[in-house]
């Protein structure tokens, strides 16, 4: 059965089925993914797309609980597709799938709005864990990604007025992450619960999207006259005011 409302506290114990949409251009791979996902208890792959263009069209109607997105797709990339889908389905978590562990690419996907990432070579158990984690509001972040995030926020933005700032606590969490500490170790050191650390990371993710989008808008408007903007109008409507 398909659920139309995402249950934020979905866990394996809850009887409802979590629907998964998959964007993957290789048929064989796509088939394998579907089989693996369907083999998990409580997960069902309800929608597969072989291109980003199709995904943008089909997925908003399918309203899955979680989206698995290949990063390398023909024509429109998985990163741009993520960005578009986030406009249409801001609440649906997107997990990026990648063949290679290229942290720069992953970081760009996170900037575009992805909520997690997974190497395609990960074990099925890891995939399930990642799906559950992202549905539970998790914000996975390795030290390498944390380093990139810290650097991204330190970079001067195109317009200083619109700069998003990380709070001291968030910066502290990121710093500890980049030093190699696990979420639990950070929680111990900062005398917080693991959940709080996770919520900080979640905020960092959100600020990263905002940061990235403002940057994108700034670049967009700086380079083109407003009249000739060809992108869908609603693309920038939800632009948060910094």
């Amino acid at each position: 059965m398909k659920t139309n409302f995402r249950n934020i506290s979905t866990t394996a114990s809850v009887a409802t089925v979590t629907t998964v949409a998959l964007v993957e251009d290789q048929k064989d791979l796509c088939q394998s993914w579907v089989q693996i996902i369907d083999s998990f208890d409580g997960f069902k792959c309800t929608c597969t797309c072989d291109s980003a263009e199709k995904a943008v069209r089909v997925i908003p109607e399918a309203r899955p609980d979680v989206i698995l997105m290949d990063i390398r797709l023909p024509c429109m990339s998985g990163i741009e597709c993520t960005s578009r889908l986030k406009e249409l389905l801001p609440e649906t978590p997107i997990v990026i799938l990648t063949v290679l562990d290229d942290d720069e690419l992953i970081f760009r996907a996170l900037e575009a709005g992805a909520d997690g990432y997974l190497l395609k070579r990960s074990k099925p158990a890891d995939l399930r864990a990642a799906l559950q984690d992202v549905l539970a509001g998790g914000a996975p972040m390795s030290s390498a990604i944390a380093l990139r995030v810290v650097r991204s926020f330190r970079r001067p933005p195109a317009n200083p007025q619109n700069q998003t700032h990380l709070s001291t606590r968030e910066t502290e969490v990121l710093d500890l992450l980049s030093r190699g500490l696990s979420n639990k170790e950070i929680a111990d050191q900062m005398r917080l619960s693991v959940e709080t650390v996770r919520s900080y990371l979640k905020t960092v993710y959100e600020k990263l999207h905002v940061h990235c989008r403002i940057e994108a808008v700034m670049r967009f408007t700086a380079n083109r006259p407003v009249a000739s903007v060809a992108a869908p109008k609603n693309s920038w409507q939800k632009l948060p005011v910094a």
Partner: protein, 519 residues
């Protein structure tokens, strides 16, 4: 113009070639003309009239009446062997001023039949066009010790020709040097250029001939007028003013420009080659990713699906195959990272090392910590440096996991001036060089790797336990020329030994050979 020669003013002297003319009328006319002119000269004796205009304008030039001593120091009348009308004769004479005894005052007396132009050390002093007027150049200033050149260009308009000259040099210690026109003067061929400054005469320059001694026929022994000219002595030519130096400088500049152009061409072709190599690297990375990576992933997933579908397949060689595929994919990850030119910078290196370390230590019980400076400079880290440094770091991590029994491992990235320090420290039992040497030769490998990229490697065992492996690499940007020449030499060595088999024991062996070491 027809000239009359007189040995003594006032006395008529028949023209030497008068008889050659043949015609009586012509002889009479000449006689009358010469008589008139001589009378006019001796009677009026007012040569001032000629120069009055010049004298009034320029105080440095004045005309005086000739005194008996005016002609002191003059040599004899000299000229080329042959004499003809409209003849130009160049006369050259070199002299030297003794060392440490510079000339403080100099007087040059000169007269020529019919005209002269005189140079000292290539600088023109002046000219004259009347054989009866003696020009005296009072040269002021100092004539430096060493070789000097006196050059005179004489012009004969008609009939007999001669040049008479005397240079009187008063030295600093009061000594007097006399240079006179005599047979030691050399006649410079008219084809010669820059002859006024030539320091030594060519062997084929003939010596001057004496036309007549001073005071002998056909010229007078006293000039009708004396022209005094005050003039600065030619300034000593500085080294950079000398022709040799200037030509040398010009040649040097030309050579420099040529070298620059050559190097620029080299650089352009090399940067082109560099771009090609980079494009090729990126293509390889892409191909590995797209083909190898995707297909292997597919294989892996098929294996996983097979395991899911069949209970029996679990824990069988199929699972091992899947794990093997995962290892290969991890290895491909590393190859792509090394090959891709996008990562040729310090930041990507640091981030990759962190990622790798975290990943590598995940399966062990060792906690990892990183100390990374807040501001990493945007330094370029070449593929070569990046790869060697990374593989050396990997070796250190491997050693720590295998032998140290540590519980915590720290990777410190430090920037010490222009050097990058990568420090892998653990709290284990220390690094046993002997044992390590026996086991895997890891330390030697690390040292050779670091030496190849101009860095070094140090292993420090702490008494309280733990061990530090320090890698130091120069980060300094290489200078333009150095990198150019290094590129060249590298290209050369690559070209000269294309068929040389790779030394398998060298750590610089083929990339792919290194990678199966991945744990």
């Amino acid at each position: 113009m027809i000239k009359f020669r007189k040995s003594v003013p006032g006395r008529l002297q028949a023209p030497k070639y008068a008889g050659d003319c043949g015609g009586l009328i012509r002889v009479i006319a000449l006689l009358v003309f010469s008589l008139i002119s001589v009378i006019a000269n001796s009677a009026t004796a007012r040569p001032e009239r000629i120069f009055i205009g010049v004298a009034s304008n320029n105080p440095a030039i004045y005309v005086a009446k000739p005194e008996p001593e005016t002609t002191n120091g003059l040599g004899c009348w000299i000229w080329d062997k042959v004499t003809f009308n409209k003849q130009t004769v160049r006369l050259w004479h070199g002299f030297s001023v003794p060392k440490a005894n510079p000339v403080v005052r100099a007087e040059l007396r000169i007269a020529a039949d019919n005209a002269f132009k005189v140079w000292l050390d290539g600088q023109e002093l002046g000219s004259g066009s009347d054989w009866r007027t003696l020009s005296i150049y009072h040269l002021e200033g100092t004539l430096r010790p060493g070789a000097h050149v006196l050059a005179v260009e004489g012009f004969n308009d008609n009939d007999q020709a001669g040049l008479i000259l005397g240079l009187r040099l008063v030295l600093a210690d009061g000594q007097v040097l006399q240079i006179q026109s005599d047979r030691t003067w050399r006649v410079v061929p008219n084809s010669e250029s820059d002859w006024q400054t030539v320091s030594s005469p060519a062997a084929d320059w003939p010596t001057a001939s004496s036309a007549a001694n001073f005071g002998r026929v056909p010229w007078w022994n006293i000039p009708t007028s004396v022209l005094h000219i005050r003039q600065e002595m030619p300034k000593p030519i500085s080294v950079w003013q000398s022709r040799t130096f200037q030509i040398g400088l010009l040649v040097g500049c030309a050579v420099f420009v040529l070298i620059c152009i050559y190097l620029l061409i080299q650089l352009v072709s090399q940067s082109k080659a560099h771009h090609l190599v980079q494009a090729e690297r990126d293509r390889i990375a892409r191909d590995i990713h797209d083909d190898l990576g995707s297909k292997l992933t597919q294989l892996l997933l098929t294996g996983e699906v097979a395991q899911i579908e069949s209970e029996q397949a679990r824990g069988t060689p199929l699972a091992q195959m899947c794990d093997g595929a995962r290892d290969i994919l991890a290895t491909i990850d590393e190859v792509v990272w090394i090959v891709n030119s996008r990562h040729d910078n310090l930041e990507d290196f640091v981030i990759y090392v962190c990622k790798y370390t975290q990943h590598f230590l995940q399966s062990s019980s060792i906690r990892c910590r990183f100390n990374i400076p807040q501001d990493l400079p945007a330094s370029i880290l070449s593929e070569f440096t990046r790869r060697n440094l990374f593989l050396a770091t990997k070796e250190a991590l491997n050693n720590a996991v295998k032998h140290s029994h540590a519980t915590e491992l720290t990777v410190d990235i430090e920037l010490n001036g222009s050097r990058l320090h990568v420090i892998v420290a653990d709290n284990g039992r220390g690094f046993d060089c002997v044992q390590a040497g026996q086991e895997r030769n890891g330390l030697t490998n690390m040292k050779v790797r670091m030496a190849e990229i101009g860095g070094d490697c140090e292993v420090v065992n702490h008494s309280g336990g733990g061990c530090q492996v320090i890698f130091r690499v120069p980060l300094k940007e290489r200078s333009f020329f150095k990198s150019l020449f290094q590129l060249r030499s590298r290209n050369h060595s690559a070209d000269s030994s294309p068929a040389r088999p790779k030394d398998a024991s060298s750590p610089n062996r083929k990339l792919i050979n290194d990678l199966p070491e991945v744990a």
